[in-house]
């Protein structure tokens, strides 16, 4: 039973990873940007949600109404200024710029919110759980997983069926050709970045409810690395694949934790390496890397 429980918990944990990874997947897949500040942006969103709750006394669950649009605007702005400026100067520059952004966010949070850890209190939801025989499933985990599935499948539908979504894919596939056809790629990149930032805000709020956060969580919690792994395991440019990759990573980590508590992370990393060696294009991708 404990193994079945591990698999179920792994699937639910994978939902959180996938929610984290979906913005990363967009930025990486569309702009080829490796956003090292992604984890810190999520933590920033978590802190903003804490601030919103403190000011408005809304229930924490509703804080996303303020934070998500704010992050979407921030994403567009960041893309049109900082990221766009570094894009044309190669992989190393975007890497260094986002790394610098990560340090700036971390230290700014420490400056304004102190190094104490915070959490988004959501009352009884955090402890209540669904009991199925001897297996108990926390409602919060279930909600986060549902949000992840809805967001990822919704985005996949948006990318494949709507006009802006098709433009994003066109620019990702062949920027020059899309430009020739009249697409303003900077604006399209901005839209992609604002979607990515909106999803990272959701992920940050979810993480703030899931566990307590402190200014360094974005880099020390290894969440960013797990998110990257989910993207690569699933296959670049496929949000559906990112969901599968996140779930696979979550399950393998939980199974590793069954062997020994220190094997949890290592099991996930080894899965990533194995996938990378035998199938570098990802498990759901048909194109070769």
């Amino acid at each position: 039973v404990s193994w079945v429980n591990a698999i179920i918990q792994g699937i639910l944990l994978g939902g959180l990873y996938a929610l984290f990874a979906c913005g990363l997947s967009l930025l990486f897949g569309v702009m080829k940007v490796i956003n090292l500040a992604h984890g810190d942006l999520a933590i920033l969103a978590g802190y903003l949600a804490v601030g919103v709750v403190a000011v408005t006394h809304l229930p924490a669950v509703w804080s996303f109404i303020v934070v998500v649009p704010l992050f979407a605007a921030l994403g567009y702005l960041a893309q049109r200024t900082l990221i766009q400026a570094s894009l044309s100067r190669g992989v190393l520059t975007t890497l260094l710029v986002t790394f610098g952004l990560s340090i700036v966010i971390e230290n700014a949070l420490q400056q304004f919110f102190s190094a104490n850890s915070r959490s988004l209190s959501i009352g009884s939801l955090v402890s209540d759980s669904l009991h199925l025989g001897s297996i108990s499933i926390a409602y919060l985990d279930l909600v986060i997983f549902a949000v992840a599935v809805v967001v990822l499948l919704g985005l996949q539908y948006f990318l494949s069926s709507s006009r802006p979504g098709r433009l994003i894919r066109a620019v990702a596939d062949d920027r020059e050709a899309a430009q020739l056809a009249g697409a303003d790629y900077r604006h399209i990149f901005g839209i992609a970045a604002s979607i990515a930032f909106a999803t990272v805000a959701l992920a940050g709020i979810a993480y703030g409810m899931y566990t307590s956060i402190d200014p360094t969580s974005g880099t020390t919690a290894l969440l960013l690395l797990f998110a990257f792994e989910a993207v690569v395991i699933g296959g670049l440019g496929s949000l559906w694949g990112t969901l599968v990759g996140g779930i696979l990573l979550g399950v393998v980590q939980q199974l590793g934790a069954q062997v020994g508590s220190s094997d949890q992370v290592l099991a996930g990393q080894l899965l990533f390496l194995v996938i990378l060696v035998i199938r570098p294009q990802g498990i759901t991708s048909r194109r070769t890397a």
Binding site: L92, V232, Q269
Partner: protein
């Protein structure tokens, strides 16, 4: 992808390849004579730096130790990202593994200074294994994979309680006694490593390997497009094969592969798979073709080329 224009390899009616000179040992010129003065300057600077522990306070030399470490790290970055175009975000793994190699040597009651070469060998060997794992990956994939490798290195090391687990372990085996002498020795050791790294990088990167690395960074496939004009009677004198797929459009003229009788005239498309032996060929009229190669042109430079530029 590079583009280039070629003239016919041999313009005479009867293609007479020049007697290929036996390729002698290649002489590599790393620097011109004008580099002698800076070299003398560098030797003087190194000598002054080596004398410093006798002249200045320990605070200054320990600051310089940090500078040497940064210098070595920056050289490594320049080699990896600057020359080879490989962006890694996992180099902290090798910094850590190097430190732990010195620690392991120290735990066996050997001087940590002897641990320095041991660390170089150990990290070099681990680097080879890591490269074997990651060699197929480029850009973003490569960067993330190096990060995962660093995380794995961390997770593996903290499993050894004898190495301090997750909290670290003081370096044992350091000579005790005269702390001033020890500080000077650490200074000299880091100066020596920095000098060796810089000289070795200079020697390697100004030679063949440096050129190969920059070539890979700038153009890993070696693919090219060329417009080639064969004057009447010119052609390719011997059967040959290409190191990549060849695609050819004939713009004008009459170009015959004499062995198979295939004739290209204006508007003809000709495709030749990688490694397929074809030729000789001759232009019966003044012929212009567009050649597209999806990789390197020839496996080795054919003997009918007189100019390096044409044979690329």
């Amino acid at each position: 992808m590079s583009s280039r224009a070629q003239s016919a390899p041999s313009p005479s009616p009867a293609p007479a390849p020049p007697a290929a000179a036996a390729p002698g040992p290649v002489r590599v010129t790393r620097s011109r004579r004008s580099a002698i003065l800076p070299a003398i300057g560098a030797v003087v600077i190194i000598a002054v730096l080596a004398y410093l522990p006798y002249a200045v306070h320990e605070g200054t030399t320990s600051l310089l130790v940090n500078f040497f470490i940064l210098l070595i790290l920056a050289s490594m970055w320049n080699l990896l990202a600057g020359y080879a175009g490989l962006v890694s975000v996992g180099q902290q793994a090798f910094i850590g593994l190097g430190s732990y190699s010195v620690l392991i040597v120290g735990l066996h009651r050997v001087s940590p200074f002897l641990g320095l070469p041991a660390a170089v060998v150990a990290c070099g060997a681990i680097g080879l294994v890591v490269w074997w794992l990651l060699s197929r990956l480029r850009s973003g994939y490569f960067a993330i994979a190096t990060w995962v490798i660093a995380s794995i290195a961390n997770l593996v090391i903290i499993r050894f309680p004898s190495l301090g687990g997750g909290t670290g372990e003081p370096l044992s085996g350091m000579p005790t006694g005269n702390p001033t002498l020890l500080n000077a020795e650490i200074y000299w050791a880091s100066l020596a490593v920095a000098v060796i790294v810089l000289v070795a990088l200079y020697a390697v990167l100004r030679g063949r390997l440096g050129l190969v690395l920059t070539a890979m960074r700038d153009d890993e496939t070696g693919a090219s497009i060329a417009i080639v004009r064969f004057q009447q009677g010119a052609g390719v004198p011997s059967p040959h094969a290409h190191a990549s797929n060849q695609f050819m459009f004939c713009l004008k003229g009459r170009y015959e592969y004499t062995k198979t009788g295939v004739v290209l005239t204006a508007g003809c498309f000709y495709w030749n798979p990688k490694g397929n032996v074809h030729g000789p060929a001759i232009a019966h009229e003044d012929t212009v073709v567009v050649e597209v190669y999806d990789g390197p042109h020839y496996p080795i430079k054919p003997d009918w080329y007189t100019s390096e530029e044409d044979a690329r």
